[in-house]
């Protein structure tokens, strides 16, 4: 749907900051999350997980466990059909088949009368493993002679296709022009190789679900998820059920960030319930979340950029190697596509290698793939600026992509807000603030595609003229408030006359997952369209009541009015007036929209970061941070700011402290919040935000998704700041204190 008014928009409600409608429940402890529901006769389900990084599963003996009093069902690979096609890898991740592919891989599951009995039963399951050599490092996995995970994985994207299997799933390449020619024209070239460790989305709520399958095969699933329709489809396939037999309800979700866009324990809970004939609740422990849900890739990133003395980039080249865990499909393609997306380049290339290793299968994490490549690219831009003797913001302005630029991943940009964010950074008081000893400042820009997708809503007019809006996208960031704003705006009624709920899969048509920064854009577009549909119908009812033609009725300020003096002299009818007699004028009044939303606008962001390093310990603190990002149109500015701040802080954590640490035995060493150190309140300053609004021509209100772009610049913004403060280029994240000390010491010795 195109922008309503390209010349400028004024809104009555959109852009204001009312209280969110679901806020009260969340501050009094009434809101129900994944683990908060129970059912009569409920059993507790627990999963047995491989203690080995790589092992053939020869035999699973469940006899003793099954005989334990209180155990009602046990499932293993024998309870799940072999699946080929799209869902093959997901099904093998949910329950191992011939091999355990990572420390934590699910091997069996038990449903028992209580947690203690279930845990005892797990101990009684005897698994005969043949331990195999393992590999957890991406570059090690690419070497000839590395232990091979899948005998049927042959590298795609290279000519000729290899005859021997390896851990290299695919080669991707993007770009245009001729980088060799471009480098030949450069006065200055910077080439660096970077390394980033795997991080976890770190949502505070572990995966949890309550499954109930009756004897007739009808199933109900309560689950914390970003996409209950997708969960329904995948679980139905894995369990051999018709989709219509499974009803999934999305609970409130305690964080997802992409990590809850797939399934882990849900098919297992359903299988246990089906076998036991009772409801089964499965909740992951925090340790299981780290070991066996979906962290990001770890990666190496090689970047080479050449520029003229005046700062104009002549060529940019990158090679990315990402491991996606035990199954193919890391986001290296998106990392490669987004790597140089901020720049207007004639010669650009990005090559990506997708590699498998003995680690949990990677799942999406907020702009998947992009933060890692941006870390490399934005660091090199910073170094290039230094070499040329130019301000890093000026270098970015000189090369920034704009409307009409051929992007590094192909399509030509329409109206975009990158330049506006860089100019705003330049003008921001943060950029001019003086720095003290051991302090450094970093700048970085970033990009994310943003998506649309399958979306539908049902907007129902209640008997008193209030509105019930049912959407199908779980609320992961406060979107219900935005939907209420948009519906109320369109209908001309008060914000608190609209109530938005997230419907279950039986109550509303299919909706794609809440991901890709798509919800405010897509569900918002559907809401606006449904409201306009309702308005048409309301006008139709008014026309009937007045005995005039529907074309002669207009909707203004929440009322139906005759279009002009000629149409008739009727006092306006409010929503409530028309709703009250709906039964008499044709029945219930509702607006609908079922759409595959297209036209999502890309979002750019520029961050400023100041750090201070303690030269004795390497301890590094962020002292000031500013996020400047293009939102197109901020529907509810407080929640837009919230996305900016949240993404930035996740990036700060990844840059300074967060990493998956594997031992030589291939086991995860830090599967808990003590040693997987996410930022805490005392680590941080206030996170300042600037909302830039360059309207997206593809949305009636001009809005762009904002949820993901904010995590793309921080890895480099922090790295550039640390590099400035430490006076040495940091090439590995996280930049934990020992690594900073080491880098400073090495530089000092040189």
């Amino acid at each position: 749907m195109p922008l309503d008014n390209p010349k400028g928009q004024s809104f009555r409600l959109v852009g204001s900051r009312p209280n969110r409608p679901d806020g009260i429940d969340k501050v009094v402890g009434r809101a129900k999350f994944g683990a908060d529901l129970s059912a009569p006769g409920m059993l507790v389900g627990k999963v047995l997980r491989s203690p080995h990084a790589h092992a053939r599963i020869r035999k699973i003996d469940i006899k003793k466990a099954l005989a334990l009093a209180g155990v009602k069902a046990i499932v293993t690979r024998d309870d799940f059909k072999e699946i080929e096609g799209d869902l093959r890898d997901v099904s093998r991740n949910v329950m191992a088949r011939d091999k355990a592919l990572y420390d934590g891989h699910a091997v069996a599951a038990v449903a028992a009368v209580d947690a203690a009995t279930a845990r005892m039963a797990l101990k009684l399951i005897k698994v005969d493993y043949e331990i195999l050599p393992h590999v957890t490092d991406v570059e090690e996995a690419m070497k000839p002679g590395a232990p091979v995970l899948h005998a049927d994985l042959f590298t795609q994207g290279i000519e000729p296709t290899p005859k021997k299997p390896s851990n290299v799933a695919k080669r991707h390449e993007f770009g245009h022009g001729d980088v060799a020619k471009g480098f030949a024209e450069a006065d200055v070239v910077v080439e660096r190789k970077f390394k980033s460790e795997a991080a976890h989305q770190g949502y505070i709520e572990p995966h949890a679900c309550l499954a109930s399958v009756a004897n007739d095969g009808q199933g109900e699933l309560w689950v914390c998820t970003q996409g209950h329709y997708a969960v329904r489809n995948v679980c139905a396939s894995l369990l051999g059920m018709d989709v219509s037999k499974l009803r999934v309800t999305a609970s409130e979700i305690g964080g997802g960030f992409g990590g809850k866009t797939t399934v882990f324990i849900e098919p297992v809970a359903l299988a246990l319930s089906r076998k036991a004939g009772k409801p089964v609740k499965v909740v992951m422990s925090r340790e299981e979340v780290f070991r066996a849900s979906g962290p990001t890739s770890s990666a190496t990133v090689w970047v080479k950029i050449g520029a003229k003395k005046d700062g104009r980039i002549t060529a940019a080249d990158a090679v990315l190697k990402y491991q996606g865990g035990a199954f193919p499909g890391s986001p290296v393609d998106m990392g490669a596509m987004s790597a140089f997306a901020c720049y207007d380049l004639e010669h650009v290339r990005a090559v990506g290698w997708d590699v498998v290793v003995n680690r949990p299968k990677q799942a999406a994490y907020r702009a998947p793939g992009a933060p890692i490549s941006a870390f490399g690219v934005e660091s090199v831009i910073d170094e290039l600026a230094q070499k040329i003797g130019m301000d890093p913001i000026e270098v970015r302005l000189k090369n920034a992509a704009r409307e009409g630029t051929e992007s590094s991943y192909g399509p030509t940009y329409g109206s975009i807000g990158l330049r506006a964010t860089i100019e705003a950074a330049k003008a921001h008081p943060h950029y001019k603030a003086p720095l003290g000893p051991n302090q450094g400042r970093g700048v970085a820009s970033g990009f994310w595609f943003n998506f649309g997708g399958q979306t539908c809503v049902s907007l129902n007019i209640n008997i008193d003229g209030t509105v019930a809006l049912a959407v199908g996208t779980p609320d992961i960031g406060g979107s219900r408030a935005s939907m209420c704003l948009m519906a109320a705006e369109e209908l001309g009624i008060g914000y608190d006359q609209v109530r938005t709920i997230v419907a279950d899969t039986s109550s509303l048509g299919y909706n794609d997952i809440s991901e890709g920064s798509r919800v405010t854009f897509s569900t918002g577009m559907a809401t606006i369209q449904a409201a306009r549909d309702a308005v048409k119908k309301l006008c139709g009812r008014a026309a009937q009541m007045w005995g005039i033609s529907p074309e002669a009725v207009v909707w203004e300020n929440g009322h139906a009015k005759p279009a002009g003096a000629n149409a008739g002299d009727f006092p306006p009818l409010s929503l409530a007036d028309i709703a009250k007699v709906a039964a008499n004028t044709g029945g219930p009044i509702a607006g609908h929209c079922e759409v595959n939303a297209e036209g999502a606008g890309v979002s750019f962001s520029t961050h400023l970061c100041d750090v201070e390093i303690d030269p004795e310990t390497g301890f590094t603190r962020v002292t000031r941070y500013t996020v400047i990002q293009d939102a197109g149109k901020a529907i509810h500015p407080s929640y837009v700011e919230g996305q900016y701040q949240g993404g930035a802080v996740q990036g700060i954590g990844w840059a300074l402290n967060e990493e998956y640490i594997y031992g030589a035995d291939g086991k995860l060493q830090n599967a808990g919040f003590l040693d997987y150190r996410i930022p805490v309140a005392s680590d941080l300053p206030m996170i300042d935000t600037v909302i830039v609004e360059v309207p997206n021509p593809g949305h009636p209100y001009g809005l762009r998704g904002v949820g993901e772009t904010s995590i793309v610049p921080p890895l480099a913004a922090v790295a550039n700041a640390v590099s400035a403060a430490a006076k040495v280029r940091m090439m590995e994240i996280p930049m934990s204190p020992p690594k900073i000390l080491k880098a400073m010491g090495a530089a000092h010795r040189r």
Partner: protein
């Protein structure tokens, strides 16, 4: 093994329950008493989502045994509001958009209330360090800190 009988007071009301020796207070609150406001984020005292007060002292209920509540006063998030009157902290959290997913919010409310009862005029620094035991992954803490300072200011005026 036989269960232990516990008599305690939760949010001002007398409560009795049976629990196993190894059951935590968090397990009891959530699974036996239906008080699911306190959340389990980690089970090891690292995230603070299970924060309650025990005789006025801020604790992680996942690190307290159900049996240890005998004869004590337990306060959870469900006991912060008084009837239909929200506590200033609860109102400010909503006004300042200090919650996104909301799963850490109960822990933050209990912890912030305990802070303001001890120190009605904390600096930003003091608020951040007091709340360092409560993890939030959505907000970056900015709006949480603002909400707590704002609630503190309102409560000081009210006195």
């Amino acid at each position: 093994m036989s269960k232990i009988r516990v008599s305690t007071t939760i949010n001002g009301d007398p409560v009795e329950y049976l629990c196993a020796a190894e059951e935590t207070l968090l397990d009891v609150l959530r699974d036996r008493l239906g008080l699911t406001g306190s959340k389990e984020g980690c089970g090891t005292g690292d995230c603070g989502a299970c924060s309650v007060t025990l005789d006025g002292r801020l604790v992680c209920s996942c690190l307290v045994l159900g049996a240890e509540a005998e004869g004590r006063q337990v306060r959870t998030v469900e006991g912060i509001a008084e009837g239909d009157q929200l506590h200033p902290l609860q109102r400010k959290f909503i006004e300042h958009a200090a919650l996104q997913c909301g799963v850490c919010t109960p822990g933050f409310l209990v912890a912030s209330k305990a802070l303001l009862e001890k120190n009605p005029n904390p600096s930003e620094h003091e608020v951040r360090f007091w709340l360092a035991g409560n993890l939030c992954r959505c907000t970056g803490y900015d709006k949480i800190v603002r909400a707590v300072m704002s609630a503190a200011a309102e409560m000081r005026e009210g006195r």
